[in-house]
């Protein structure tokens, strides 16, 4: 799986959140948010992460930028292990992996102007500004498609799309290599979504970014990503190239997701797979495949043995007993 061009390698990443309670505040149970997620990311690639609510997509993103400390597993950034590093040791990597947040209304400090917010980041990470701080900030603001006079405004003076652009500018202010975008367009209007996605695409080329793009919208993923990671209850069920998404999707869950996505072509009819039941509780994981309870093709083995993510063809790992 690994090669020299991999900028990020994630192996068997687990994130369990303890739930405390009782008089002695002991750990009563755990939320199994991530259960052994593995993938690798080449420089300049855009990886989409898709799945339904609560499947651990956002937790994965937050583990990558170390907002959460993973319980187990490893994150290798250019071959350097990031898990287990202290606050100080992590500092050089902080500015190389940044994040864009979902809600543009809560992702900006309401009391800081755009200039203050960007300057804070650039100063903190000592980003070189050959033409002075003001010039750097103004250029950055223009790069994300805002007018120069936006720099002295407060967040409440902007619309949602403009705020998201400011959020992107803030993430870019420290010149990162990897950008984790946690549903960056799901809170925006459809018309604005396209603008922000196109902006991200332009910036990706301009800054040479590698992107992890978390979304629950398959259309956006198809439009934007090179590869897609399909997640279900903290597990990766399938990883495939976006071009293969419709042709080669192998896992029943991926198929169901694709089937639920409306297609604007009345002649292109395909069987609608309606999943029954609910996602199992993340507190107590089922012994077999997490998806077995809802899978339309599940067999006895699926309920008892957990499948592993195995490569079924070149660059197409699937975690299912029934796929050869």
């Amino acid at each position: 799986m690994s090669s020299s061009t991999d900028i990020l390698q994630v192996k068997d990443l687990e994130m369990h959140f303890p739930v405390r309670g009782g008089i002695l505040n002991r750990v009563q149970s755990k939320v199994h948010a991530l259960n052994g997620v593995s993938f690798s990311l080449k420089k300049g690639e855009v990886l989409g992460v898709v799945g339904e609510s609560g499947c651990g997509k956002s937790t994965l993103g937050k583990c990558l930028i170390r907002l959460h400390s993973p319980t187990a597993g490893s994150i290798l950034f250019e071959g350097e292990e990031l898990t287990g590093l202290s606050h100080g040791e992590l500092m050089p990597y902080r500015k190389r992996i940044q994040m864009i947040f979902q809600d543009p209304y809560s992702s900006l400090n309401p009391r800081m102007t755009v200039r203050q917010a960007l300057r804070e980041v650039a100063l903190f990470h000592q980003v070189p500004t050959p033409f002075g701080m003001n010039a750097y900030i103004e250029e950055l603001v223009q790069r994300v498609g805002l007018r120069v006079d936006a720099v002295d405004k407060f967040p409440h003076e902007f619309s949602g799309g403009q705020r998201q652009r400011i959020g992107i500018a803030r993430a870019l202010a420290c010149n990162p290599d990897v950008l984790v975008a946690d549903e960056p367009v799901s809170a925006l209007d459809v018309s604005i979504q396209a603008q922000v996605l196109n902006l991200l695409m332009d910036l990706k080329d301009e800054f040479g970014l590698t992107l992890v793009f978390v979304s629950h919208d398959l259309k956006v993923i198809e439009h934007f990503c090179d590869r897609v990671l399909v997640m279900y209850l903290g597990n990766v069920v399938e990883e495939l190239s976006c071009d293969d998404l419709h042709k080669n999707a192998a896992h029943p869950y991926t198929k169901a997701l694709l089937g639920a996505n409306p297609i604007n072509d009345p002649d292109d009819r395909r069987p609608l797979i309606v999943l029954q039941g609910d996602v199992p509780s993340p507190f107590v994981l089922p012994p077999g495949c997490a998806f077995a309870g809802r899978c339309p093709v599940a067999e006895a083995k699926c309920h008892t043995d957990r499948p592993r993510l195995e490569r079924k063809s070149v660059d197409h790992p699937v975690s299912c007993w029934l796929v050869d």
Partner: protein, 403 residues
């Protein structure tokens, strides 16, 4: 790159603030503007007292016979006689003093001066006045008897002649001084009430400021760090809030008695801060717990900012509105609490305050003399009312959800 074109192209935050929606809404509210003016008058008054425009001696000086009613109110004959007696005595004492300075001190009328600098002339006129006084005292009924009434009028005009009548500013000061009458000891109620304004504002500002600071500090630490810090702070404020605040105030105020700070306002500040920090602490702890989950705080920690830096730059500034609300509530609360504490004899000592005035008025009210308690209550009620109206209006004007 110079910063001048920046400064001119971008309006300053202050002019932006003045043009903002909140300020425009506030300006339309006439009650709010009125209450703001009232509060400013109080603050100016407190500042003037602080700058010694009105000195502590003015609040303690004996300026007339005890229990003179305010607004030059009608007095019975007995009161008028007392007034004349007081004034003759004052002039006599002034004339008897050998030094000019002593004379002023003995007179202590501030703006009022004897008609002559020559002690001989003054004592001759004083003797005449005493003669009329002694004649008047003979009568039992000063009002019904025409002869007595005439004598009383004579006496009063004689007394008037003993003084140089004040003119201009000094006459204004004198009428202000006498406007609300005098208390039992003959001290100017108006000046005492004005001096108390400074005491009240001082106690209000200092107690509210330190309570809010303490509460914010502890509340923010508890909310942000959680864990044992949170448990400790919760334990502290649940313990403190389980004691009725008035009892806590009394205990603390009496604990300071006889100590090095006795006679200063420090025991009062300490008592207020220890019981008032709880409500800002509780509110701000909750707000911080909410804020720390917001994405801009997560973004800041993804940037690598330290916890203290995030707390100071991204969290505490966003609780400013709660700090303001709590400050205004505690300011009013401290003023009212000071009155209660002073009424109980545990508060302000060695200087007048509205509470001290109300406490001293206990005996007067039973005798039908209401000027002192009326003045103190009026001054306090107007300030508290104005503050309540203002904080309501501010909340309405600056609440983004309020139309």
């Amino acid at each position: 790159m110079s910063s001048t074109p920046q400064a001119t192209s971008a309006p300053s935050w202050w002019s932006k603030f003045l043009q903002g929606r909140g300020v425009r809404k506030f300006k339309r509210d006439k009650m709010a503007i009125g209450s703001l003016v009232v509060i400013l008058v109080y603050l100016l008054c407190a500042l003037a007292v602080g700058l010694n425009v009105l000195e502590k001696e003015d609040a303690f000086a004996r300026v007339g016979p005890g229990w003179t009613p305010g607004f030059g109110g009608t007095q019975n004959g007995e009161k008028r006689l007392q007034d004349a007696e007081f004034r003759i005595e004052q002039i006599e004492r002034a004339a008897a003093a050998t030094q000019a300075e002593d004379a002023l001190k003995a007179l202590n009328f501030g703006a009022l001066v004897p008609f002559s600098n020559d002690p001989e002339v003054v004592s001759a006129r004083v003797a005449e006045a005493w003669a009329i006084f002694n004649a008047t005292v003979e009568y039992d009924d000063l009002e019904e008897d025409p002869a007595a009434a005439k004598l009383l009028l004579d006496l009063e005009s004689k007394v008037e002649e003993l003084y140089t009548q004040p003119t201009g500013l000094s006459s204004l000061v004198h009428s202000l001084r006498m406007s609300l009458g005098t208390d039992l000891q003959g001290r100017s109620i108006m000046f005492r009430a004005l001096y108390s304004t400074k005491v009240a504002v001082q106690i209000g500002i200092i107690s509210a400021l330190f309570s809010v600071l303490l509460g914010t500090l502890l509340g923010a630490a508890a909310g942000y760090f959680g864990g044992w810090v949170d448990h400790l702070v919760i334990w502290l404020y649940s313990t403190f809030s389980s004691i009725p605040w008035i009892v806590l105030l009394m205990v603390l105020a009496s604990a300071f008695r006889g100590g090095p700070f006795d006679g200063t306002l420090i025991p009062v500040y300490a008592a207020f801060c220890m019981s008032f920090w709880i409500s800002p602490c509780r509110v701000i702890r909750g707000e911080v717990m909410k804020l720390k989950e917001l994405e801009y705080v997560q973004a800041a920690s993804a940037m690598g900012f330290g916890k203290i830096q995030i707390l100071l730059k991204h969290i505490i500034p966003n609780t400013a509105h709660l700090m303001f609300i709590n400050f205004s509530l505690l300011f009013v609360g401290a003023i009212k609490a000071e009155v209660i504490l002073s009424f109980l004899g545990l508060g302000v000592k060695g200087q007048p305050s509205w509470g001290v005035m109300i406490s001293q008025a206990k005996a007067e009210v039973l005798n039908g003399f209401f000027w002192q308690i009326g003045a103190a209550t009026f001054f306090m009620v107007i300030l508290v009312l104005a503050f309540n109206i203002l904080s309501d209006a501010l909340q309405d004007a600056f609440d983004p959800k309020h139309v």
